[in-house]
């Protein structure tokens, strides 16, 4: 879908039935990176649901953001296999190098999240940058990869 798509256009692709709500929210999130207040209101009107219901559903799911995401979103898997492979070292290296803390949302340019398993344990440690998955990441490879983004 084009980046220029408006929330109205996206919504029209779905029947205004509640069992399409999560799918519609995911689609808006995919296009805008998050659900803005404005788009949440539009979604509520389209589905004829109270605004609180939109937030009730949207706030539950990890893959739906309610705030604008940072320009660079780094995620590191914290599953047992990735952790045994050194994922925590990668996390603290990123924290020290960029002077950020995992989970904090203060920096609009870069954020670091510790996330749950991607189901790619045999290829771990797994790091995801703006949706792109990197396998078998070491601290030195992490620097190489991030240099391309920063």
């Amino acid at each position: 879908m084009l980046k220029s798509a408006t929330a109205e256009k996206i919504l029209l692709e779905f029947d205004p039935q509640k069992n399409n709500l999560l799918l519609a929210l995911k689609e808006i999130n995919a296009n805008f990176g998050y659900i803005s207040k404005d788009n949440a209101k539009k979604t509520a009107e389209y589905f004829s649901l109270p605004l609180s219901q939109i937030y009730e559903t949207a706030s539950f799911y990890d893959l739906i953001n309610l705030e604008k995401a940072a320009d660079l979103v780094i995620k590191v898997c914290s599953g047992a296999d990735c952790v045994l492979g050194g994922a925590n070292k990668i996390v603290s290296e990123i924290e020290n190098y960029f002077r950020i803390k995992s989970g904090d949302k203060f920096n609009p340019k870069i954020s670091l999240e510790i996330v749950s398993c991607f189901g790619m344990c045999a290829q771990g440690p797994i790091m995801v940058i703006n949706g792109k998955i990197f396998e078998k990441v070491t601290t030195s490879r992490m620097h190489e990869i991030l240099n391309e983004y920063v």
């Binding site: 509640k18 069992n19 399409n20 709500l21 999560l22 799918l23 929210l25 995911k26 009730e56 559903t57 706030s59 539950f60 799911y61 990890d62 893959l63 739906i64 914290s78 599953g79 047992a80 296999d81 952790v83 045994l84 925590n88 510790i114 996330v115 749950s116 398993c117 991607f118 189901g119 790619m120 344990c121 045999a122």
Partner: protein
Amino acid sequence: MFENKIEKILTKHWSEIDPLKIRDYLAVGGYSALKKFIKKSNREKILEEIKFSKLSGRGGAGFPTGMKWEMVMSQEKKEKYFICNLDESEPGVYKDRTLAENNPHLLLEGIIVSALVVGAKKSYIYLNGNYEKANNILAQAIKQAQENGFLGEKILDSDYSLQLEIFSGAGAYICGEETALINSIEGNRGEPKLRPPYPAESGLLGMPTVVNNAETIANIPWIVLNGGKRYANCSTKLFILGGAVKKRGVFEASIKTTIKEAIENLGGGILDGKDFWFAQVGGASGRLFLKEELNVPVSGSGAVLVVDKNANIYDLLLSWAGFFRRESCGKCVPCREGTFRLNEIAQRLRDGEISDRDKIAVEDILWTLENTTFCPLGKFAATAWRDAVEKLKIFSK
């Protein structure tokens, strides 16, 4: 070298099939179970076979599949739903994803036969929101199945019709629990509901609903073709080997495989130069097994994580506690607060700042999680920690 001398049911054609081509699947006899059901059998006969097969849920809970189907079949409501549970968010478990990516039509055939037998006209695959590759492969497979007359109206010119849709989740572990999964499809928060009523009576949109794990469903075509009694003697299961073993990945073996056999025969043994400490069986919510406890069958979802003596246990404790802190849905206080505090303590433990007060608190928190939470997530959060305290003696070092 050890040879896995079983008849493979789930992984048989993985290497010969291009998952994007239905004709590859048809070339190895694909969709003949669906043809057999429609042309030569009926719903009651297939249900009998499934009951003979003693097939049980492969998601971890192990509920008998035949019993689940019968409960829905006996309901008089006209509308019924069939849902394939491919949410699979347990850390360390990725067998269903591997299955769907390697042989999607085996899964589809299983879904179609199962849905028609239980009397559903509409079915869903509830897919983990992170599984993009599997999503593309399954979407393509559904299209091909429709073009070949295996899905849609009047399947193979019979009176059976079935719609199948992929419902891609949005990242929530608890949605693997069937009532939470149904809530999620309905557009709500993916929180579990109080049972009874069970989904078999009142599931999706209040209608009788079967929710089966993807691996369970993939066994159905073989049972339809070869009979339930034969299946009962040669049941297999997918195992996921991880951690300090030579071969990591997904393997098919007899359902009776013990932890020791899984590590040595499937995983190729522990890595050279490493010393076995314990194995965790069943993902992050799994129990820990010491060296002398390995002669029992692998239970639950089939994941075996081997941990060697050089591993940092505090990293692992934080991995477990952090996972359940993130995934606790917040509906009930003991789980929401318990997982939160356990995660805080795990962080202090890793940073070497643990106090005696924390050690006492851990005991209280674990008891509360084990005994007072609304759904099993709380119990899961406490399982590995409980074993770490009692078997690994993390506090008495």
